[in-house]
C-alpha cells in the first residue's frame, strides 16, 4: 500500500438533518432531481445523491451543498416569498444570524428567526411607491429645470452676444480715440518745435517776461523728453549762466538748482528751479525770446490740455474694454462647463447650498467650490470645482472638488459630492470619513433618471 502522508479528518461537533432541496433557486432545480447519483454542476465529479446537502463538501464548485455551510465560497438561495429572493454566502447558513427574511438559512441553528418577508415586502413596496412618486415628481421638476436651463442658456448666449457687440463698439471707439490721441500729441509737439525755432531767432531779454509765465509751461518746455520730470541733463541742456551765456552748467550746479536731486516733478520744480529762473540772478533759459513766448503760450496751452483730455478719454474706454473682455471670458468659461447632456445642471450656476452639521457650517456652490466654516468663524476650502467623477455609466452622479486647503502632514482637502434624486435641491449631508477627504450628498430633481424607475420596478418583484 502506498504511504499516505497527510490525512485530513473532519470531526463533527454538531449534526445536520439534511433536506435535499434546500438553498436552490427554481432555475437550478433541474440539476437536483432525485436520482441515484449527482453530477457536480461543473461536471468535475459524480457522487451518490445522498451526499447532496449532507453537510460535507464533495464538489469543487460547491454545487453538492447548496443548502449547507460545508463548501467554501458556496451560495445559498433565499426564496423569500413575498419579498425579494437573493443569494447569501453559504457560510451564513446556520450561523445563528437571520439573513433570509423567510428564515430558511437558519433551519438548524438555535436561533428562532421570524419570517419577515411579508412585512419587508409591504414596506419595500410602500417605499418603492413613494420613491416612484418622488421620482415622477422629480422627473417633472427636472423637465422644468431643463426648460428653464434652455432659457437660461439662451439668455446667457444673448448676453454673450450683447457683450460681444459692446466689445466691438468699444473696439471701434478705441481705434478712433487712439488716432485722436496720437494726433493731439503730434500737434503739441509741432507747436513746441515751432516755438523753439522762433526762440532761436530772437534776442534774449526775457527776465520780466518769464516773471509772467506759468511754471507749468516752463516745466514742459524744459522737459525735453516728455517724461513728466526734469533731469539734471535736461536742465544743463536748456539753461545757461546769466553772466556767461555760453557756459554750460556743471552737473553739480544743475543738481543744486533742482534742490539737490537728479530729478524733479512739477510740484518740486515750483519749489526749486522755478524760483531761480523767475528771479533770474543766476540762470536763464538759453536763447529765450520773451515776446514770442507771450504770444504763442495760449495756443500751446490749449493744445496740451486737448491732448490730456484725449488721453483720459482713451484710458476710460480702455478700462471699459478690459472689463467687458473679462466678463466675456468668464461667461465663455462658464458656458464651456459641462452642465450635463441636457444642460440640466445649469440652473445650479451661481447658486450656493448650506448645511449645518454639529459645530460646522458647510457650503456647496456647484461648479465653484465647497467650504467649511467652524463655530469660531474660520473658513476652510474643502475643494474647488474639478470635474464630474461618476462611473462611466453615470458620469453625472458625482462631482469632484479638489485642491482645497492643505492638511497637516497630508494632501489637500477634497470633496466628492454624490447627487441623488429628490424633489428638492439641497445639501443633505457632509462627512469626513478619512482625514481631509470629505463626502457630501446633494439632492436635486435633476439627478433623477428614468432608469431609476426600471430599478424600482425590478425590486418590486
Amino acid at each position: 500500500m502506498h504511504c499516505p502522508i497527510l490525512i485530513a479528518v473532519v470531526i463533527w461537533s454538531s449534526c445536520v438533518d439534511s433536506q435535499k432541496i434546500r438553498g436552490i433557486s427554481l432555475s437550478y432545480k433541474r440539476f437536483y432531481r432525485e436520482r441515484k447519483s449527482f453530477l457536480c454542476i461543473d461536471g468535475s465529479k459524480l457522487i451518490p445523491f445522498d451526499q447532496v446537502n449532507d453537510d460535507y463538501c464533495d464538489c469543487a464548485d460547491g454545487s453538492d451543498e447548496p443548502g449547507t455551510a460545508a463548501c467554501p465560497d458556496g451560495r445559498f438561495y433565499c426564496t423569500n416569498l413575498g419579498y425579494r429572493p437573493h443569494y447569501i454566502p453559504s457560510s451564513r447558513v446556520n450561523d445563528a444570524i437571520c439573513d433570509c427574511c423567510d428564515a430558511s438559512d437558519e433551519y438548524n441553528s438555535h436561533t428562532a428567526c421570524q419570517n419577515t418577508c411579508r412585512n419587508l415586502g409591504q414596506r419595500e413596496r410602500a417605499e418603492v411607491k413613494s420613491q416612484m412618486r418622488a421620482l415622477d415628481q422629480g422627473l417633472r421638476l427636472k423637465q422644468q429645470l431643463i426648460e428653464e436651463g434652455v432659457l437660461t442658456w439662451r439668455d446667457k448666449q444673448a448676453q454673450l452676444r450683447d457683450l460681444q457687440r459692446v466689445l466691438d463698439d468699444l473696439q471701434t471707439q478705441l481705434d478712433d480715440l487712439r488716432k485722436e490721441d496720437a494726433r493731439r500729441k503730434k500737434e503739441v509737439d509741432a507747436l513746441r518745435e515751432l516755438e523753439i525755432g522762433a526762440l532761436e531767432t530772437e534776442e534774449n531779454s526775457h527776465r520780466s517776461h518769464i516773471m509772467n509765465e506759468s511754471p507749468v509751461s516752463i516745466f514742459y518746455e524744459l522737459d525735453s523728453n516728455r517724461d513728466g520730470r526734469l533731469s539734471a541733463k535736461e536742465v544743463r541742456a536748456k539753461l545757461t549762466d546769466i553772466q556767461d551765456g555760453e557756459r554750460v552748467l556743471s552737473e553739480d550746479e544743475a543738481v543744486a538748482l533742482l534742490g539737490g536731486g537728479h530729478h524733479v516733478d512739477l510740484s518740486r520744480f515750483e519749489e526749486t528751479l522755478w524760483n531761480s529762473i523767475r528771479i533770474g540772478h543766476n540762470v536763464t533759459i538759453r536763447g529765450r525770446v520773451p515776446g514770442r513766448l507771450v504770444k504763442g503760450e495760449p495756443v500751446l496751452k490749449a493744445a496740451v490740455s486737448a491732448a490730456e483730455k484725449a488721453a483720459a478719454e482713451l484710458k476710460k474706454v480702455e478700462d471699459a474694454y478690459e472689463t467687458v473682455y473679462m466678463e466675456i471670458r468668464d461667461l465663455r468659461e462658464k458656458l464651456a462647463t459641462d452642465y450635463g447632456p441636457e444642460r440640466e445642471f445649469l440652473f445650479l450656476y451661481n447658486q450656493c447650498f448650506q448645511l449645518k452639521v454639529h459645530e460646522y457650517f458647510y457650503e456647496l456652490c456647484p461648479f465653484n467650490q465647497v467650504t467649511q466654516t467652524s463655530a469660531s468663524g474660520a473658513e476652510v476650502s474643502l475643494g474647488k470645482w474639478g470635474s464630474w467623477a461618476g462611473s462611466p455609466q453615470h458620469r453625472y452622479s458625482q462631482m469632484k472638488y479638489e485642491n482645497g486647503e492643505p492638511c497637516w502632514q497630508g494632501p489637500t482637502r477634497n470633496t466628492v459630492v454624490t447627487l441623488t434624486c429628490g424633489t428638492e435641491t439641497a445639501l443633505r449631508s457632509v462627512k469626513e470619513p478619512g482625514k481631509c477627504q470629505y463626502v457630501a450628498e446633494f439632492q436635486t430633481p435633476v439627478a433623477c433618471r428614468p432608469a431609476l424607475r426600471q430599478q424600482g420596478v425590478h425590486s418590486e418583484l
Binding site: H2, C3, P4, I5, L6, I7, A8, V9, V10, I11, W12, S13, S14, C15, D54, D55, Y56, D58, A69, A70, P72, P89, S91, R92, N94, D95, A96, I97, S109, H358, C407, W408, Q409, G410, K431, E432, P433, G434, K435, Q437
Partner: protein
C-alpha cells in the same frame, strides 16, 4: 492608538512640524541617554575591578527557608543585608538591601503571584575565605566568596553564573542631604528629595554567547553587546515615531533576560520597577582561576551583564533552567501565565483612529459582510468619548451606543472602546470629581494633585498603585456605571506609561508621589496596574463569569496575567513589518504571549503591497489588529481594488481556519507559561543556526511561519529545522526535509507556512462572519505524519468566553494520536460537559466504514466525514 501629536496648541504644532518634516524618526533629544541620566552615568563610570564589598561570614544565619549574610562596603563602612533563597523549581533568589536604611526602600509588590515556595539550603563547608552551600538537586552548589564578595552557582564542575564577578555591585545608600540633589533635563527639574539611591549588580554567564529578552525594544531578537554604545534602557515611555534597531526605551519594560547555549537555558529576573539600564558585553575569559574547584582553566566564551536601577533594592531571581521549557515554567511560577483570552480576541480586530460615528461603524461592519471578510472586533479610539472624557460617549457622534453595540451583537461581533488613565480635570465630569474627592489622584511633590497635559488637555492621573483606587476603578465598568456599555464592549488602555505631554521625557515627574513612594520607585509598573484594574472591572461586571479582554500599551513583569499588549505606534514601513517578529518573540520569551503590532503600520500610509504582506504576517501573529493614524487615508481591506481585497480576505480566512489551534496554544500558554509564538531555538535548543533567527518563527511546536517581509519579493529562504524531521507546506501539502535552508518562490498570495511532520493540527475550515458564528462547526484534523508514520496533537474546546473551564471544569481536552495506522482521540483528564451534550453521536459505540479520497501525487488521504464526536473516545483505523 496614538503618540504625542497635535492638538496641544500652536506651539507644539510648530515644534512637531519641524520634527516631522526633517525625517520620520523619533526626536532623540526628547529622551535621555545614559549620560543624561545621572545615576546611569555615575554607575557606568565604575569600572570592573576589585569590589569594595566584603561578606561578613560571621553574620551568616541559615534557616529552613533562607540564608542571610551581611556585606560591608570597606570604603564607607555601610552594611548591606544579603538574603538568599533556594526556590522550588530550580531557582535561586538573591535580595540585597541596606542593613539599616534611613527609611524603607521600595520593594515591588503585586508582581509575584505568591511568596515563592522555598527549599532548604545546606552548608557544605566554610572557611575564612568563603563557604559552599548545597542548592539541592543536581549537585548544584553555591559558592560565597568573602573578599571581594562574590557568588558563583555551580553544577558539577561547571560555573553556571556568577554575581559581582566583575565587582560592579554598587549600592547608593540613603543619606542625610549633603548638597544639591536636584537634577535637570531640558526644562524639567527633578527635586530628588532622597538623593542618589541607585543600585547595580553584574552577572557573568560563562559559556553563553546568546542573550534575549528585556523587552520592550525595537531591536533584534538576540540582544547586542552595548560596549561603546548606549545600554538597553527599561523605562516606560510614549515615544513618538520610534526608531528601529536601537536600545532606546519604549512603552513597556520586562526586566527579564534569558541566556542560552546548546548546553543550557537560564533566566535572570531583576525585580525592580525604577528606571533601569542593562549593559551587555561579551568576551572570552580564562575562567575559573579564582576557584579552587576548577582544575586547570579553559577558554570559554562569556557574556557579562550589568543591571543598573535608579532606586529600590536588588531582588533577582536566577532561573536555572536547564531547558527553555523549564525557564518558561520557572518564570510562570513566579509571575503567572498568560491570561486565557476569550476565543474571539484571537480573531481579527478592525481598528482606526477613529471610526467617526455610529454610521461609520455600521458602514464598516457592513463592508466586511459585503466583501465576505470575517472580523470579530471593531475598535473606537479617543474620539468616541465626549471631549476625551473616558467612560462617556460623544453625544453627536455616538448618541446611541447601546443600539450600536446591539447591532454588532446581532452579527455576533464585539467592540473595544478606549479608556486611558489620564482624567480630564473638569468638575462636571463624574470620574474626575469622584477621584479627586476620594483623594485617588497621584500627588505632586508639593502635595497637590499632580496635573499634566494629555489628550483632554489638563489631566489628573489616578494612583493605580493604590488598591482602593483600583477597586473603585473596576467598579466603574459595571453596566450601570459605564453608560452605554454592554456585554460585548471591551476595553483598551493606552497612554499608560503614563504619557504626560508636558512632562520630562513625555512622562510623569519622578518626584510625583504615590502614597509613601515616589513615582521614581515604581514608574515601570504603573501601566500594569492600569490594565489590572481594568481587567478586574470587566470580570466584576459579569459577576465573575466572563473572561476579560483588555489591551495595554505599557506593561511590566506580570502584565501577561491581564490581557494583550501591542507594540505601540509603529509606521507603515517594511522595516517596521520585519521588526514585529523579534519584538513579539522577545515578549513571548518573558511571558507575554498575547502580542501584536498594528497591521498596516500606525503612522504613514502603506502601499497596497505592504498592507497585504502585513495582513499575511499579522494573520500568523497572536494579536491580529489593523490600526491607523487619524491623518492617514482610510484603509479598510476593500479599498485597494478587488485583487488586494481577495488577498487580504484569504489571509484573514487562514487565521479563522486556524483558530482552534490558536485557542489550544493559548490554553497551553495559560496552563504552562510556554510561549505561543516561539523563537526557533526554543524548540531546537541544540541547533546553533536558529539562535539569532528572527525573520521566521514557530506557533507552538508544529507550525513554522516565514512571512514575506521584503518589498517586491520573488522568493524567501526559510530554514526548516530538525535533522531527520519533515515539514509539510500547509497550502500544497508538499513535503520538505528538515535541517535545510529552503528557497520558496513566492507570489503576492504566498504565506510560507509549514506543518511539522508528527503533528496533528485542528482547524475549522468553514470560515464564517465571526468566530462566534463558527462555534458549532466541525473540526478538520490535519495529520502530518513523521517519517516513522506517527503523529500527535491536542484539541481543546470550551465555551470560548467564560471561566467555566476553570471553575466548573467544563472543557474538552483530547490527546490525538496517529500510530500503527490508527488515529485515536483520548481524553486528557477532561470533564465531559453539558454544553456539548446536544451534539449528536453518529458513531456511538459502533463500527462503521469511512469513505476516503487518496491523492497519490501528493500522498494525501482525506477521510470523508467520519462524523465522530469531539468529546468522546474514538479510533479510526486505516486498513
Amino acid at each position: 492608538m496614538a503618540a504625542f501629536i497635535v492638538r496641544m496648541g500652536p506651539v507644539l504644532m510648530l515644534w512637531l512640524a519641524v520634527c516631522v518634516s526633517g525625517s520620520w524618526a523619533v526626536d532623540r533629544g526628547n529622551f535621555k541617554t545614559c549620560d543624561q541620566s545621572t545615576f546611569c552615568k555615575r554607575q557606568r563610570a565604575l569600572k570592573p575591578g576589585q569590589s569594595p564589598y566584603r561578606a561578613l561570614l560571621e553574620t551568616l544565619e541559615l534557616t529552613n527557608t533562607k540564608l542571610t549574610l551581611q556585606l560591608i562596603n570597606d570604603n564607607n563602612k555601610v552594611r548591606l543585608l544579603l538574603e538568599l533563597y533556594r526556590l522550588q523549581g530550580n531557582m535561586t533568589r538573591v535580595k540585597i538591601n541596606e542593613l539599616k536604611p534611613l527609611k524603607p526602600r521600595f520593594e515591588v509588590p503585586d508582581v509575584l503571584i505568591n511568596d515563592p515556595p522555598t527549599e532548604p539550603l545546606s552548608l557544605l563547608s566554610q572557611d575564612e575565605n568563603g563557604m559552599v552551600l548545597s542548592l539541592g538537586a543536581d549537585s548544584q552548589r553555591l559558592i560565597v566568596s568573602a573578599k571581594p564578595f562574590r557568588l558563583d552557582i555551580m553544577e558539577g564542575r561547571e560555573v553556571l553564573l556568577s554575581l559581582n564577578s566583575r565587582g560592579l555591585l554598587a549600592f547608593e545608600h540613603l543619606r542625610i542631604q549633603d548638597g544639591m540633589w536636584e537634577e535637570t533635563f531640558k526644562s524639567h527639574t527633578d527635586s530628588k528629595p532622597n538623593g542618589p539611591t541607585s543600585i547595580s549588580l553584574d552577572f557573568s554567564l560563562p559559556g553563553v554567547e546568546h542573550v534575549y529578552g528585556i523587552p520592550e525594544h525595537a531591536d533584534t531578537l538576540k540582544l547586542k553587546t552595548t560596549d561603546g554604545g548606549e545600554p538597553y534602557r527599561l523605562y516606560n515611555l510614549d515615544v513618538f515615531q520610534y526608531e528601529l534597531f536601537n536600545p532606546m526605551a519604549l512603552y513597556g519594560a520586562i526586566p527579564v533576560m534569558l541566556s542560552h547555549s546548546p548546553q543550557r537555558t537560564m533566566g535572570l529576573f531583576w525585580l525592580n520597577a525604577a528606571e533601569t539600564w542593562v549593559d551587555i558585553s561579551s568576551n572570552t575569559t580564562v575562567f575559573g582561576q579564582m576557584l579552587d574547584y576548577v582544575q586547570g582553566s579553559s577558554e570559554t566564551p562569556q557574556t557579562d551583564v550589568r543591571w543598573i536601577s535608579e532606586s529600590g533594592i536588588i531582588d533577582v531571581f536566577i532561573m536555572l533552567g536547564p531547558t527553555p521549557t523549564d525557564v518558561f515554567a520557572q518564570y510562570a511560577s513566579l509571575t503567572g501565565t498568560q491570561a486565557f483570552p476569550p476565543l474571539a480576541a484571537l480573531a481579527y480586530h478592525q481598528c482606526r483612529w477613529n471610526y467617526n460615528d455610529q454610521e461609520d461603524v455600521a458602514a464598516v461592519d457592513q463592508g466586511f459582510d459585503q466583501h465576505d471578510i470575517p472580523y470579530d472586533f471593531i475598535w473606537l479610539d479617543i474620539e468616541h468619548a465626549d471631549g476625551k472624557r473616558y467612560f462617556t460617549w460623544d453625544p453627536h457622534k455616538f448618541p446611541q451606543p447601546k443600539e450600536m453595540l446591539q447591532g454588532l451583537e446581532d452579527k455576533r461581533r464585539k467592540m473595544v472602546a478606549i479608556v486611558d488613565p489620564h482624567i480630564k480635570v473638569d468638575n462636571s465630569y463624574k470620574i474626575h470629581s469622584e477621584i479627586r474627592s476620594r483623594g485617588f489622584y497621584i500627588k505632586n511633590k508639593d502635595g497637590g494633585d499632580y496635573e499634566g497635559w494629555c489628550w483632554p488637555g489638563n489631566s489628573g492621573y489616578p494612583d493605580f498603585t493604590n488598591p482602593e483606587m483600583r477597586a473603585w476603578w473596576a467598579s466603574m465598568f459595571a453596566y450601570d456605571q459605564y453608560e452605554g456599555s454592554r456585554e460585548n464592549l471591551y476595553t483598551w488602555n493606552d497612554m499608560n506609561e503614563p504619557s504626560v505631554f508636558n512632562g520630562p521625557e513625555v512622562t510623569m515627574h519622578k518626584d510625583a508621589v504615590h502614597g509613601n513612594w515616589e513615582h521614581r520607585d515604581l514608574h515601570n509598573i504603573y501601566g500594569l496596574y492600569v490594565q489590572m484594574a481594568t481587567a478586574e472591572g470587566l470580570i466584576q461586571r459579569s459577576g465573575g463569569v466572563e473572561r476579560p479582554f483588555v489591551l495595554t500599551r505599557a506593561f511590566f513583569a506580570g502584565s501577561q496575567r491581564y490581557g494583550a499588549v501591542w507594540t505601540g505606534d509603529n509606521a507603515a514601513e517594511w522595516d517596521h513589518l520585519k521588526i514585529t517578529i523579534p519584538m513579539c518573540l522577545s515578549l513571548g520569551l518573558v511571558g507575554v504571549s498575547f502580542c501584536g503590532a498594528d497591521v498596516g503600520g500606525f503612522f504613514k500610509s502603506p502601499s497596497p503591497e505592504l498592507l497585504v504582506r502585513w495582513y499575511q504576517t499579522g494573520a500568523y501573529q497572536p494579536f491580529f489588529r489593523a490600526h491607523a493614524h487619524l491623518d492617514t487615508p482610510r484603509r479598510e481591506p476593500w479599498l485597494f481594488g478587488p485583487e488586494n481585497t481577495a488577498l487580504i480576505r484569504e489571509a484573514v480566512r487562514q487565521r479563522y481556519a486556524l483558530l482552534p489551534y490558536w485557542y489550544q496554544l493559548f490554553y497551553h500558554a495559560h496552563r504552562t507559561g510556554q510561549p505561543v509564538m516561539r523563537a526557533l531555538w526554543v524548540e531546537y535548543p541544540q541547533d546553533t543556526a536558529t539562535f539569532s533567527m528572527d525573520d521566521q518563527f514557530l506557533l507552538g511546536r508544529d507550525l513554522l511561519v516565514h512571512p514575506v517581509t521584503e518589498e517586491g519579493a520573488r522568493g524567501v529562504t526559510a530554514y526548516l529545522p530538525g535533522n531527520g524531521e519533515v515539514w509539510f507546506d500547509v497550502h500544497t501539502f508538499q513535503k520538505h526535509n528538515g535541517g535545510q535552508n529552503l528557497y520558496i518562490p513566492v507570489t503576492m498570495s504566498s504565506i510560507p507556512v509549514f506543518q511539522r511532520g508528527g503533528s496533528i493540527i485542528p482547524r475549522k475550515v468553514r470560515v464564517r462572519r465571526s468566530s462566534s458564528c463558527m462555534e458549532h462547526d466541525p473540526y478538520t484534523l490535519y495529520v502530518a505524519l513523521s517519517p516513522k508514520r506517527f503523529a500527535q496533537g491536542e484539541l481543546y474546546i470550551d465555551d470560548g468566553h467564560t471561566f467555566s473551564y476553570e471553575k466548573q471544569k467544563e472543557f474538552i481536552y483530547r490527546r490525538l494520536a496517529f500510530a500503527n495506522n490508527t488515529l485515536s482521540s483520548r481524553s486528557v483528564g477532561s470533564v465531559w460537559i453539558q454544553t456539548f451534550l446536544m451534539l449528536c453521536l453518529s458513531v456511538d459505540g459502533k463500527e462503521s466504514q469511512l469513505e476516503f479520497d487518496f491523492d497519490a501525487s501528493m500522498s494525501v488521504l482525506t477521510l470523508r466525514k467520519p462524523g465522530v464526536n469531539a468529546g468522546v473516545d474514538w479510533t479510526v483505523v486505516l486498513q
